[in-house]
Symmetry: C2
Subunit: 336 residues, 2 copies
Amino acid sequence: MAVTLRDVAVRAGVSRSAVSRTFTEGASVSAKTRAKVEKAAAELRYSPNAIASSLTTGRTKLIGLVSNNFHNPLFLEVFDLFTRGLQERGLRPLLVNLSNETDPANSVRMLRQYSVDGVIVASSTLPPSFAEAFRDAGVPVVHSFGRYTTSPHVHVVGIDNIACGRMAAEALIARGHRSIAFLGGPEKATSTQDRAGGFLDALSRHPDIKVGISYASAYSFDAGRAEMQRLLQNTPAEAYFCGDDVLSIGALSAIRDAGLRVPDDIGIIGLNDMEMARWENINLTTIRQPVAQIIGASIDLAVETIQNPDRHPETRLFPCRVIERGTLRPVSPMQP
Amino acid sequence: MAVTLRDVAVRAGVSRSAVSRTFTEGASVSAKTRAKVEKAAAELRYSPNAIASSLTTGRTKLIGLVSNNFHNPLFLEVFDLFTRGLQERGLRPLLVNLSNETDPANSVRMLRQYSVDGVIVASSTLPPSFAEAFRDAGVPVVHSFGRYTTSPHVHVVGIDNIACGRMAAEALIARGHRSIAFLGGPEKATSTQDRAGGFLDALSRHPDIKVGISYASAYSFDAGRAEMQRLLQNTPAEAYFCGDDVLSIGALSAIRDAGLRVPDDIGIIGLNDMEMARWENINLTTIRQPVAQIIGASIDLAVETIQNPDRHPETRLFPCRVIERGTLRPVSPMQP
DNA sequence: GATCTTTTTGCAACCGGTTGCAAAAAGATT
DNA sequence: AATCTTTTTGCAACCGGTTGCAAAAAGATC
């Protein structure tokens, strides 16, 4: 059916090795043979079989891209950047959707069966043990959007969630709010824990400020809305740090439906700065996560780890910053 | 490095064939040998190399998933459903991001090099020739969200865009509007052309109704907003059919910013019914595209085509329906 | 033109599996 | 126990490439 190396060799009147060599970078072929082979290959529309060659070279150029975030619009941007970035480096993303799985065993087995050169786990909610399962199986792995730990067992690229929590608290305090709160995603997500931790930490230096903490049942619009509706039944805080933009948008819709104004009655600051956050009808003040940089660094690190599998586990964190839009009032000039 | 068939064979004290057979469905192995092999395999943590086996079986179980829609939130749902659906059938999606390419040659070559069993082109904007390039290269292909033609050269699964255009027109007419318009995406997208065509067709039976047509520069929030702002500078129509939900949301934001009320001053009906459309702060009346069914049928058709490559090109269209929400006033009782 | 280097080439073995075929083993029948 | 069937097994060739090695060809030097 398909045309193989052998067919080209026969037509060009050379050995199979000669054909193989014309298609491998840096191999020794004379200009004359190369010309003959290229002519024959073009006539037969030959293109080498990457799978077969991977068998001897040990490189498939396949990268497992594993994620469980198929409901957060930010991840459409993430997939876009990952697939483009990998393609530019001649790598192919083999996408694995983890939506219902918590056990890494299946994905590990599957990706080993396909001899992927490396794996990128793109998720802010999976525990570190997930990525570690790949490392334990001998597969180079990078946890993108993962949790920072002081002694990482696996490469992590992302943001400092604790610092973000702190940054959010300070942003709210700087605006003169005296009663603020954190509205997080599910408490078990590592990123949520860290954001809450940083938030509270910053407030420990402000004993006069009232602080609240609560958790939505998921990182979703509905959960954010429901949790805010619940909060509005008692005395709500003056401003909220929501653990994610989608959550923020849900909270905003609850606030507005209750007849309250944003940012005058209640302020909101989100986290991520997904594309939608700057839409004029949303106009969300939020902390930007430098997604493109995180993804670029993740791919770099994956490539480096493939070249040198014994590389020491490394953490690359990128700074976030507040993006001023319309859901938080301006910094109060009276504050210190 | 990795443990192979041979290692297991040696440890189990059997031939390599025996090991291979215990791992192939329906091969002839005695219970005794199977037990020995399975024990050895478990001890060595062996799992067969899918890539190597594909060489002889001719099946990689890889499916190329090709798309250029990495900015429409609907496609996050699409990727979620595709990856899950393929995984459930033991297939693996090799994702190809076409964002900047219009020429299929690269993707065709690349996916052939990886010997994908089939390709799914998931895009409502790519021309039919794109999918045809795969067929011409001998790769089973399904164009998902593609354009319906009476004599298809390639399998197409999607919706009847002409019927949708008609449905939208009728919905607007049924609400008593006398001046309506289509606000499409880029005119060159095949789906846009068809939706416009259907819209106008339905109106040909209503010469008394005033009709307008215009096109945004992209299927994006910004483009929808900009185009609606332009329209508001002259006398806008009473209600608009936007060619897509994202476009609709952009248009809505322009309308509200202009101080007009929806649906009282201007009505909007979208198309797709992406997850966000039902968010309470958007609450978009729209035509639902049955995404899950389209994707299920696409995968089915791809699998069937892999089994029988000479299958006649087929078109599977799914009916859409209007989802009533808050951006269109109720059906006017006075209408016939 | 003879001799020494360097480059190019083909052979053959290998990557990690599968599979047709014939021999061996097991089971059935008398 | 002898014979016939059926099942199980291993051998060897193959899938489509790559690569170390030695021989052949080309080029350099005198």
